[in-house]
Symmetry: D3
Subunit: 291 residues, 6 copies
């Protein structure tokens, strides 16, 4: 009965009501203004929270329960519609506070460009940072039709910032020839088509390093995530993605933050994409957030 209690509203299931006491912070980045194909990912974070009530709290994969960690749901960051630069600045400032408070950031997007300011903030805190990136797309463009702020560019930006050899992309099945060539030249790792097997090879190399994990949900085949902006056939299954998250969780890598982006609910009337996203968030938190 909640009449005489504070009602915490629609938050991710089992969120802790207090920011200070939490180890991790969930936040939405409801931006989709630079996407080149189908918009709508601004509603991803809200719908992922909403369907999280359908989640079991226990993970039989990791034998861990949401009750084992404390996380605060900070809601969606208010972003100015149609203004990419100001939106990115707002996100960066927001995440800096989370990091300053020594909490683990768990972002939900939103288009992939939102990961750029997050990764910048994380890099300032962890100069030895590496990126694990799962995606259908390279996201290595310098600009899209003249725009440097585009959802096709975040991995190029972070590669330029932290050095391309510190970026590891998996599951890539779409991009311009120039993007693949650039990656090859500069020594950035790209695993085409596959995620789990190449990840198993790469993880030992990253042992002990701080790693930020950024997952574009379109790394999944459209069969498993129809609710995203740019569906691209030939992706991995949700089983492989879950196994990949668990592989990271069980590795020697020090995950220092993560996000899941490009969830666009309107394209999926079955709601399977948001339900899957909600489960992925659960598994990432249970796997990555340490006591």
């Amino acid at each position: 009965m909640r009449v005489d209690e504070a009602y915490s509203g629609n938050v991710f299931i089992k969120s802790h009501p207090n920011f200070e006491e939490s180890e991790a912070v969930i936040y939405g980045m409801p931006m989709d203004w630079t996407v080149s194909y189908r918009p709508g990912s601004r509603f991803g974070p809200a719908r992922v929270r909403e369907v999280s009530i359908g989640l079991e709290e226990y993970s039989p994969y990791l034998d861990r329960d949401l009750a084992d960690i404390k996380y605060y749901d900070a809601g969606d960051i208010p972003l100015p519609f149609g203004n990419p630069q100001k939106s990115l600045d707002t996100i960066e400032e927001f995440v800096e506070k989370i990091l300053a408070a020594n909490k683990f950031p768990v972002g939900i997007g939103g288009e992939h460009l939102v990961s750029w300011p997050v990764m910048q903030a994380v890099y300032r805190k962890y100069p030895d940072l590496a990126i694990i990136h799962m995606d259908a797309h390279t996201d290595l463009r310098d600009e899209f039709e003249g725009e440097a702020l585009s959802h096709s560019t975040p991995i190029k930006k972070i590669a330029n910032l932290i050095g391309p050899k510190n970026v590891y992309s998996f599951g890539i099945r779409s991009g311009m020839k120039e993007e693949f060539e650039w990656a090859k030249e500069v020594g950035m790792h790209i695993s085409k088509f596959e995620v789990l097997e190449p990840l198993k090879e790469m993880l030992p190399k990253l042992a002990g390093r701080p790693v930020y994990v950024t997952i574009d949900i379109d790394v999944l085949d459209p069969a498993h995530a129809p609710g995203t902006g740019t569906v691209d056939a030939g992706g991995i299954t949700s089983r492989e993605l879950l196994a990949s998250i668990h592989e990271i969780a069980r590795s020697e890598v020090n995950v220092v933050g993560c996000d899941l982006v490009e969830i666009a609910p309107i394209y999926d009337p079955s709601e399977q994409t948001v339900n899957t996203a909600s489960k992925l968030i659960r598994e990432m938190m249970l796997g990555f957030v340490k006591k």
Copy 2:
């Protein structure tokens, strides 16, 4: 920036964070277990809240703004799935607390049976109570296929409790012959098909009396509210329903509570039904809740 503030989550737009200071209380009654046709109204309240962010706060109909009143969103009442009696008891107990605190109850359903415990609680506080009921259906059955707890029965129950002459139904276009005949015999008011014009006639008779307003969203034509359990062609427009709410708001009637029920979002991929419901809740609060 909400990192260091309490996040109030997904609540109806502009809700007041404090129960005690509020004049009205919004609450969801997510029950749909006795419906005889299409279930799904359990998700109505949550989705109405969610889309309320798209609402303008000002009503050009009533020249009043949501900032002019204080209302608390108490969230959804947790109800035991598949147990009608216990669900009704829980609702009744919940609403009694709201009434005991002298706040105006604004319920969102959920199937129409949820109005039954609310009206019981309201009646205990206001023994001179009258009911204004807008609906496609009579809801005057004694039972449905043997079940006395059915979404086809709440108006019969309240009519039996407070006396059928105190119940005024409008917009009715579906029911058994026996239901219409019973109403006639016992002197209960039923306006078939129309709402606004007969309402204008009846409101003066109710001047000064405490009135509870219960609206089944299927009083609207399916064109205006496809997202409901039992769609029935030949209903009124959303313009007529808005005008009817405004007619009550401007009358001498003393509205002491209201609800809007049978919102089943899954049947309406366009989301127009939940957006319309959200606007109707705004207009009811602006029209019915006095300072």
Copy 3:
């Protein structure tokens, strides 16, 4: 409990199990192979039956109950996919049996071309036949892109057979200039845009005559019937269509058969179109079928 009884399957609600004892016969005509825009009306009849379980059996408009008449549901006529001529022959043969048994035919379509063989059969039995036709489209073409068997032609065919002065079209808001001109020249009645008011004027002229009523559900505005092949804005409401059916029912006209066509469920995920069609069938039977 149906284990040891004959199972009556998916039939229109309250259908009589026996053909011989029935006064009316419902049958589906699941053909959509000549449509020029969106196909799918082959599934109309089956879905209309399926949702009829959601219908109240009593009509508060006509104060009559489905229990007051006996009607048999003959199911869908099996039609050869992609063969218009053979399909029409099959329908004609089927309806002749119904008429030979002196039963009232109630057809559900399927594209509008299915009405052509029905009307031929009815005309053979009633040489003084007149047609009341409600539709968004004239359907007065001689052919469509070279095809004489097209869903754009049935009214032209019947007008040529029984004489254009015996055909009364209502609600027409789409057609070629030549179609409107032809109708004018030969003295065929066309009411543009409106149904109810011109119908009230015309009905006295048809008093005592045998009349077949053919309704294309797209006479309704797309808001009221999105589930049809060719949606065309600016149509009438379901209230006006219901009132028009009731106007005919209360007139001196001798209705000898009727159909409702062009119901294409797939375009309407809200299922409002099939539910509306189901109610229209109820009202037509209650209004047109005499003891």
Copy 4:
């Protein structure tokens, strides 16, 4: 031409018209009132039948044809909305008649709780009964939010009745920690995540025993069955499920009944889930029903 024949209505394709002469009986259990997440499985059985017209009658997997067996479609069991106990009693009484007539029961749900009364009836006839259970969820709760009659409980109930060692669950990927622990303690078999391979190991142990097969369609990944109440990423493919059914069919196990539950059509506008369910029913009948 069905005018002068008995109309067999909406039944599963090629159903036999006579109960007595049939070897198997298909029946729907349209109940969804205790589900904790998305309702709508009450419409599963009707839609599965409806789309069965799209099925080929021959199975190239089993080289057997629907013409090789006789099965009667008894339609949906009429159940009282919102009354779980009475619904379960009605189902149990219904299935007892089927078993008394020595026919093979093939149930379609409906929520998973409907399997509980079926399994009770089957157990009375076959005291040496074992259960093969394929599901995403353990369904081993004692109650859900206080309700002992919940769709989360049927496997616990049957395990308690026939002994947990006689219950074999496969494909489980969701549940409370306590449920997994209980199963382990009492020696109930649970294969997490996988179905086909562990099934191959277990089937020899069950050789010669009477086995009831209960399949929750959510054992499939949401990609393969989006139309269910609780979608949970990481499931098996429809290929694996088909192969698992064939594995049982070819084993020494004596299947004495089966069901397929939790089909909720409204969440899948593509209709793939009901089409898949229809094919699964065909394969189960061709594989399990002996002459």
Copy 5:
């Protein structure tokens, strides 16, 4: 047979292949990056063209045929995703060329902000310009959450440019109190809720003047146009909107350009909104473009 001809692709039905010889030019403005609620109108123009093949070419309302005028379909203006200012500049430059060639511009949106550069260009050519604006929303904000380039601002901008007394808004049912007050103070015309009747009053005052007509499709009730970003109950019917266009067409006003904006197809699986938009474009061209 088009193998050896130039294929003109997907253009609005009956478009003329030659720009120079045409009297009017259709163009899409696929921008939706500043919208504050549901994006997706970038796909409006393409889908409106696509469904135009379902249109009859003749208007029985205006007794005029698309063959009577020549119009060129210039396709969608390529706009830089996420860059509002550059998008507006591109549109303005594009429309200036159309006006310089003395052709009638017919724009399809896209969000309402796209009308701002069009109206600027038109105003430079017609300094005595007046605006007829049909919309659910005032669009009179100075900025939205800090952004001056927002879909909530175009009418304020044009009112400031050409003088508020030259702007006539109709059908408005949503806005901030300040917007309505500002309009009143500065003498801008706003008809709340209604379109046709106040338009009839205003048109004589505009006789002889150059007028640009801008229609936000959300002036329609959501029942008639669910496929738009911001659905708002209580709007007008498509019949009233068609009649309003015809009223302008038959008036003494000199229409010099027009647009129809905010068509977001994804929210309307029935496709009625794009079909309605396609018909509205036909009626505007037949009514407004003179020989």
Copy 6:
């Protein structure tokens, strides 16, 4: 800026504007009038073109770019609705022109029967022709419910024309027993269920021969292609289909034409099927069309 240029409209991305200079020709065959289950594939070609704007032009699978070949998009062949024979004649005449001009034909369907006239024309040019056929269904019927022109017959027709030993079917999981038996008797190759592995075995046997590749998109599992007429569980993944196309591309086979058919967009609101089809067309052109 396209105001003063010829606008090439909605064509497959990067199509060449000139037929004569092109090496390949894309054309749509918008016919669905003989389908026995769900119609709607007439809209497949148009929607595949429309979404091709979302494609990356480079294939990381084949390391080839659409810029490397020239192809002309001839649009949809205009076909007479409801007249199968005349439609097939029109297609045959059309494709003969393409072949006469020595261009590679790339067809998009439409129902599978459209491949029959194409294969006839190709066979006249290449008397040593073999067919590679990927499909869920045998398509080896002689007729369907009496109709020899049916979407269930094209492979039988071509087998009879060129000899069954020259036809290789893969992925088949549905058909009548008689169809499988006939294939066995006459020595036609059918790989049940699998595509990639048996294809690897067969391709060496076809080395050097002219081969036409016809793909029914329902060879994919419904999870990967819900937007098709006849969904059938247990199909292959889009990864396997892509790999199969690449296997052919890298083989010694001389592909002389190809098609992709049975794309019915309306059944897939997520649009994944048309996006997948668009990618498959890209891969087939990059793999099969030589300089």
